[in-house]
C-alpha cells in the first residue's frame, strides 16, 4: 500500500534529552496507524513534530497529499500544516474553545475556507461576494458532523459545558471539519467508559472508510488499539522497537518486555 506519510529518521532533542531517537515509520493511506508505548516513550513528541508544534532536530516527514504534490512537514509553519497539508490533530488534554458554542467551534475549524469566502473580511463587510452561502455550507458541514456524534441538540450550548465524553467527540469532529487528509488523535479514548470507547471505534472506522482519511493515533487503551488499528508502531525511550499488524506486535517479545519489564529475570521485576 502506498504510504500517505513517511517519517524518516526523525530525531528530537531537548538539550541533552533525546525524546525521539531516529524513528522511521510509514502510515499507509486510508488506514489507522496506532503509535503505542509506555509513558514517556516520545509518542506525543512525534505528534508535535508532525503537526508543527516542534521543529525536529533532524529527520524528514514526507506527506503525499492526494490532491497536491509532496509536503515536507518539517519545513512548514505550524498553522500551515493543517491549512495546506491537511493534517489535523486533537490533544491529550482536550483543547476546545470552552466559552464558544459547539457550532462556533466547528466554524472556527473551517476558518480558512470561510475567510476566502468572506473576501478576507473586506468583501463580507461591504456585502459583496457569496459569504452567506459559504456560511450556510459550513453550517451544513458542521451539522453533518454533529449528527454523527449525536451533539446536534447541544449545538448552541457552550462547548465547555459539555460532559467529558462529548467534549472528546467534539474535538475529533472539529478536527474533521478542517477537511484533513490525515488526522492525528492523541489518546482519544482517555477517560472514556467502555460504551463510549466502542462508539469511538465506530466513529474512527467511519472516518477512515467513508471519508478516506488516514488516521494516526496514540492510545493506551488496548481494546481500541487492537480492535481498529491496521498498523501499529511501538516506541520505547524514544526508539522504535516494533512495527507491524496488531497480531504481530501483540506477540513481539520486545513489546512485551517494554510493557511488562524485563521478562522473568527476577521475580520482583516481573510485575508491571
Amino acid at each position: 500500500m502506498n504510504p500517505l506519510l513517511s517519517v524518516e529518521h526523525l530525531t528530537m532533542r531537548f538539550g541533552g534529552l533525546v525524546a525521539v531517537d531516529n524513528v522511521s515509520f510509514d502510515a499507509p493511506a486510508t488506514s489507522i496507524t496506532a503509535v503505542i508505548g509506555p509513558n514517556g516513550a516520545g509518542k506525543t513528541t512525534v505528534f508535535n513534530c508532525l503537526t508543527g508544534f516542534y521543529k525536529p532536530t533532524s529527520g524528514c516527514m514526507r506527506l503525499r497529499h492526494p490532491a497536491h504534490s509532496e509536503f515536507l512537514l518539517e519545513r512548514m509553519e505550524g498553522h500551515a500544516i493543517p491549512a495546506k497539508a491537511g493534517v489535523a490533530r486533537t490533544f491529550q488534554n482536550i483543547r476546545l474553545f470552552p466559552g464558544m458554542s459547539v457550532l462556533e467551534n466547528l466554524l472556527v475549524a473551517q476558518h480558512n475556507v470561510l475567510m476566502r469566502a468572506s473576501g478576507y473580511t473586506i468583501g463580507a463587510l461591504l456585502g459583496v461576494g457569496g459569504y452567506a452561502a459559504a456560511e450556510r455550507r459550513a453550517i451544513d458541514r458542521a451539522r453533518y458532523w454533529l449528527e454523527r456524534v449525536r451533539l446536534t441538540d447541544r449545538a448552541d450550548a457552550d462547548a465547555g459545558s459539555l460532559p467529558y465524553g462529548a467534549q472528546r467527540r467534539l474535538e475529533i469532529v472539529r478536527a474533521m471539519c478542517t477537511g484533513p487528509v490525515m488526522l492525528c488523535l492523541d489518546e482519544p479514548a482517555a477517560g472514556l467508559n467502555p460504551r463510549e470507547s466502542a462508539e469511538l471505534n465506530e466513529l474512527l472506522t467511519v472516518i477512515r472508510d467513508e471519508h478516506r482519511v488516514t488516521l494516526l493515533l496514540i492510545e493506551h487503551d488496548m481494546s481500541v488499539v487492537m480492535e481498529i488499528s491496521d498498523h501499529i508502531v511501538v516506541l520505547d525511550y524514544g526508539r522504535k522497537i516494533s512495527e507491524g499488524p496488531p497480531a504481530a506486535v501483540r506477540n513481539d517479545p520486545k513489546v512485551i518486555r517494554a510493557y511488562l519489564g524485563e521478562e522473568m529475570e527476577e521475580d520482583e521485576e516481573a510485575r508491571p
Binding site: 466559552g99 473551517q110 480558512n112 473580511t121 463587510l125 456560511e135 454533529l146 478536527a175
Partner: protein, 498 residues
C-alpha cells in the same frame, strides 16, 4: 447554608467587634492621611486646619456599618434593620430638609449622600433578610444568578440598545440639555467609542493592550499635522488618521504579538509611553510640549459651523437660514462623536459574526488549538490590533478637532488605563457593558467633582466594588454569534450553569 436559618448561630461578638475595630482603624489611618488635614490658603491664619471631626465620623460609621454586616451574616437582621433605618432616615431627613448642619457627619453633600445611600442599602438588605429568612447564598449561586441576569440584560439589549440610541439622538433637544451636559455627553460618547475600539483588542482577541492611547495620539497628531500642513479638511483626514493608526498598530504588533498575557501588556505599555515621549521631544515635527493649536473644526458637508461665513460662501446657519447659536457647534460635535461611535459599534457587531471575529475569540480561548486548526495566530492578532487601532485613530482625530489644540499631555498612561477599565468593568466583549461602564466611569467623576482631587476615589471605589461583586465585569454574558436553532435562546441553550 439554608439549614442555618432555623436556628440562628450564636454570634461571635468578640470576633465581630475585633473585625469592626480593625476596619475602623484602617479607616482612621486612611482618613487622617486623606482628610485629616487641610492646607489653608488664607494668609495670617495657621497653615494647616484640622478636620478630625471628619476622621472620627468616618471611623464611627465604618465601625457601625461593619458591625451591622457581621450581625447580618449571623442572621440577626431585626436590630440591624432598626439601627440602619433610624440612621438612614435621620441622615436623609437632615440632608433633605437642611436642618442643623452640625448634625451631619461630613461637610460634603455628596459624601453625606453616599453614607445615607449605604445606610439605606444596609437596611434594605436587613429587611430582605427579615422577610426571606436566610438568603445567605454561596458565591457560585450568586454568580449563576448574576449570569442569568446579565443574559437577560443582553436579551433586553434588543430594545435597550435602540432605546439608548434614541435617547442619545434626542439628547440635544431635551429641555435640560445645556452646554455642560452636552460637553459631558460628548466626552462619554468619545470614551464609549474608544472602549468599543479597545474591546476588539482586549475583549474579543484577548490581547491585553495597556498602550491604546498611543493609537489615539497617532490619530490626533495625524489629523492635526495633515490639516495644518496640507490644509486638508476633517473628512479627508479622518480615513488617513485611521490608516496611520492602523499602520502603527501593525508596526507594534509585528514584533510583540508573539508575547502573551503580562508580557504583551508590559510591551504595549512601553509603546504607549514611547509614542508620548516621541511626541514630546520631536520638536521640529510635533512642536513638543507646546502642542499644536489652530486645528481646524469639522465642517458639515463643507459648511463651517461658525458665526462668520467664509469669503463668498455660506456657513451652516446661513445656508439653512437659521439663527446662529453658539451651542450649534457643541451639538454638531456631539453628533459627530455619536456617528463615529455608531460606526465602531456596527463594524464590531458585523465583524464578530465573520470568520475573522470568530477567530479572534477562538484565539482568546485557546491559541494552540487555533494553530492546530490552521488559523494563522499572528495575522489574526494583527488584524485585531490594526482594526482596534484604527478606531482609536478615529477617536484621536475627533479629539483633535473638538479641542482645536493637542499636546502630549493629553495622551498619558492614565487615558489607556481609563479606557481599559471601561472595557474590563463593562464585561469583556460586551458592547452594551462598555456603554454602561463609560457612563459610570466618566459620568461618576463628573458627579463627584465636588470632592476635587479625591473624586478619583469614586473611580477606584467603583472598580473595587465591581471587582468584588462581579469579577468578570458588569455584563459578562456571551451570546453565540451563530445558532443552529433560531428559536428563543434559552430553549436550546440547555447548558448547565451552576
Amino acid at each position: 447554608m439554608r439549614a442555618r436559618a432555623a436556628a440562628p448561630p450564636s454570634v461571635d461578638w468578640a470576633r465581630a467587634l475585633k473585625d469592626a475595630g480593625l476596619v475602623a482603624g484602617i479607616v482612621v489611618l486612611l482618613a487622617i492621611a486623606l482628610a485629616g488635614f487641610r492646607i489653608q490658603d488664607e494668609s495670617g491664619g495657621p497653615p494647616l486646619a484640622y478636620r478630625f471631626n471628619d476622621v472620627v465620623a468616618a471611623a464611627l460609621i465604618a465601625f457601625l456599618g461593619r458591625l451591622g454586616i457581621a450581625a447580618l451574616r449571623a442572621q440577626r437582621a431585626v436590630p440591624v434593620l432598626a439601627g440602619a433605618l433610624v440612621f438612614a432616615i435621620a441622615l436623609s431627613g437632615v440632608l433633605v430638609f437642611g436642618a442643623d448642619e452640625q448634625l451631619l457627619p461630613f461637610q460634603s453633600t455628596v459624601l453625606n449622600g453616599t453614607i445615607a445611600l449605604a445606610a439605606w442599602m444596609l437596611s434594605a438588605r436587613a429587611a430582605w433578610l427579615v422577610w426571606h429568612a436566610a438568603s445567605e447564598t454561596s458565591t457560585e449561586v450568586r454568580e449563576a444568578r448574576m449570569d442569568r441576569l446579565s443574559a437577560q440584560v443582553q436579551k433586553l439589549a434588543w430594545w435597550v440598545g435602540p432605546l439608548l440610541l434614541g435617547l442619545a439622538v434626542a439628547l440635544p433637544f431635551l429641555p435640560w440639555a445645556d452646554r455642560r451636559l452636552l460637553d459631558i455627553a460628548t466626552l462619554v460618547v468619545t470614551y464609549i467609542m474608544l472602549g468599543w475600539g479597545l474591546n476588539i483588542v482586549v475583549g474579543l482577541a484577548g490581547l491585553l493592550d495597556l498602550g491604546y492611547v498611543a493609537f489615539y495620539a497617532v490619530g490626533a497628531y495625524s489629523y492635526a499635522l495633515l490639516a495644518l500642513h496640507f490644509d486638508l479638511g476633517f473628512w479627508v483626514c479622518l480615513p488617513f488618521a485611521g490608516i496611520m493608526a492602523a499602520f502603527a498598530g501593525i508596526l507594534l504588533g509585528f514584533p510583540v504579538l508573539r508575547l502573551r498575557g503580562d508580557y504583551l501588556a508590559i510591551v504595549t505599555l512601553g509603546f504607549g509611553e514611547i509614542v508620548r515621549i516621541i511626541l514630546l521631544n520631536w520638536y521640529a515635527f510635533t512642536k513638543g510640549p507646546d502642542g499644536l493649536s489652530g486645528i481646524p473644526r469639522p465642517t458639515f458637508f463643507g459648511l463651517p459651523i461658525a458665526r462668520e461665513a467664509p469669503e463668498g460662501g455660506h456657513s451652516f446657519h446661513s445656508f439653512f437660514g437659521l439663527e446662529y447659536s453658539p451651542v450649534d457647534r457643541i451639538i454638531f460635535l456631539y453628533y459627530l462623536a455619536l456617528a463615529l461611535a455608531l460606526l465602531t459599534n456596527l463594524v464590531t457587531l458585523r465583524i464578530r459574526r465573520l470568520p475573522v471575529g470568530r477567530a479572534w475569540e477562538a484565539l482568546r480561548e485557546d491559541e494552540i488549538a487555533c494553530r492546530s486548526l490552521g488559523v494563522h495566530p499572528r495575522n489574526t492578532k494583527l488584524t485585531a490590533f490594526a482594526i482596534g487601532a484604527m478606531f482609536g485613530g478615529f477617536g484621536g482625530s475627533f479629539f483633535a478637532t473638538r479641542q482645536g489644540f493637542i499636546s502630549p499631555e493629553s495622551f498619558t498612561f492614565l487615558e489607556s488605563a481609563i479606557i481599559l477599565a471601561i472595557v474590563v468593568l463593562g464585561g469583556m466583549g460586551s458592547q452594551i457593558g462598555v456603554v454602561l461602564a463609560a457612563i459610570l466611569l466618566i459620568g461618576l467623576p463628573e458627579v463627584f467633582r465636588e470632592l476635587n482631587q479625591y473624586r478619583m476615589l469614586a473611580f477606584g471605589l467603583a472598580m473595587v466594588a465591581i471587582m468584588a461583586w462581579r469579577p468578570r465585569g458588569l455584563l459578562a454574558h456571551r451570546e453565540p454569534t451563530v445558532r443552529l436553532y433560531h428559536g428563543p435562546p434559552d430553549a436550546s441553550d440547555g447548558g448547565p450553569r451552576a
